[in-house]
Symmetry: C2
Subunit: 197 residues, 2 copies
């Protein structure tokens, strides 16, 4: 329907996370209602983002500047680095305004099944940042999955000899959570992470 | 996060139906993972669709050819025209393979609240098609809403003198539906549309 150009657009939109064939059709119809006001701005935004955006050579975050705005911000604590899996994690922590230091984006987690080994992770620049001095604490904020835990163990072994404090983010019941809907793994983690009141 | 270009892209994607700020961020992150393979094809698809696609001067459908592929298809019944509100309705009927005739897209329904009057609907070309002869039946497939019913009544008054058979699509229980989940309006329509078995 709508010719090959429209079919192709629907196919590409349907590949985005959160959109399927049905919602991609609805989105395309909305765009087609006013091509000049809706399609061209989106096309131009895609082109300019694709041209301007690059990974930060220091931390692996994505930005239109290198070093990225976070690495370049003098008001942020250079001695505190939060290690995350991907750029989406940086965005999530930034939205929550809970981290006053900087970041390091690994770009993945170790995964034998997906064929991701140590060489595929952005670790070299992290070691350089630590070697350059001034880093007091590394916070591991990796996903609470098998691959995330494997990566955290491997990274701990690698960073321990460098004389920085290593921490990892807490695990347990989410704020607003109720005990009876938590999975067994979270319940075990919450009990294991109990603290004196 | 990610610079002004990325923020702008997220903002534009978030305006698409089916996407909100959160899923627009996820979609943008996916696109940023490989700009050359993901962003540029989407930008080009948007540009070529915006350039190639136009409304069919006969029926109001959207296609890269004018007349559209449906109007130009000699195997379709020229004597049977299904009147729908918008292009999405054409796509839905075409996906279901239930209509062997042609279409006419009104581009909206009469709505005093939204300020849509008779002059805003694509009715002139429909009258011309009927005046040109050969049209035996007009099927009104307008939405089962107040505005849709108003439009159907108004269109019936306009088309009745032209000597074509006027029908409207059936209303009642959807296939696969169960009585106890239907709303009152559908139940009333289903009872009103009962037929002898």
């Amino acid at each position: 329907m709508g010719g090959p150009e429209v079919e192709r657009l629907i196919g590409l939109l349907a590949r985005l996370p959160g959109l399927g064939p049905r919602s991609a059709r609805r989105a395309t119809l909305r765009l087609l209602q006013d091509p000049a006001a809706r399609m061209l701005p989106l096309a131009n935004a895609l082109l300019s983002a694709a041209q301007s955006v690059r990974p930060c050579t220091q931390c692996g975050n994505i930005d239109s500047t290198d070093p990225c705005a976070i690495c370049a911000d003098p008001s942020r604590d250079t001695g505190l680095i939060c290690v995350v899996e991907n750029v989406g994690d940086v965005w999530a922590l930034e939205r929550a305004h809970v981290h006053a230091g900087r970041y390091h984006v690994l770009g993945g987690t170790l995964s034998p099944i997906a064929g991701i080994g140590p060489d595929d992770l952005n670790v070299g620049p992290l070691l350089s940042r630590i070697a350059a001095g001034g880093v007091g604490e590394i916070i591991l904020a990796l996903p609470a999955t098998v691959d995330g835990a494997t990566t955290a163990h491997w990274l701990t072994d690698k960073l321990r000899p460098l004389g920085v404090t290593l921490t990892r983010i807490g695990q347990g019941m989410p704020i607003g959570g109720a005990l009876d809907v938590l999975d067994d793994g979270t319940l075990a983690a919450a009990l294991g992470a109990r603290r004196a009141v």
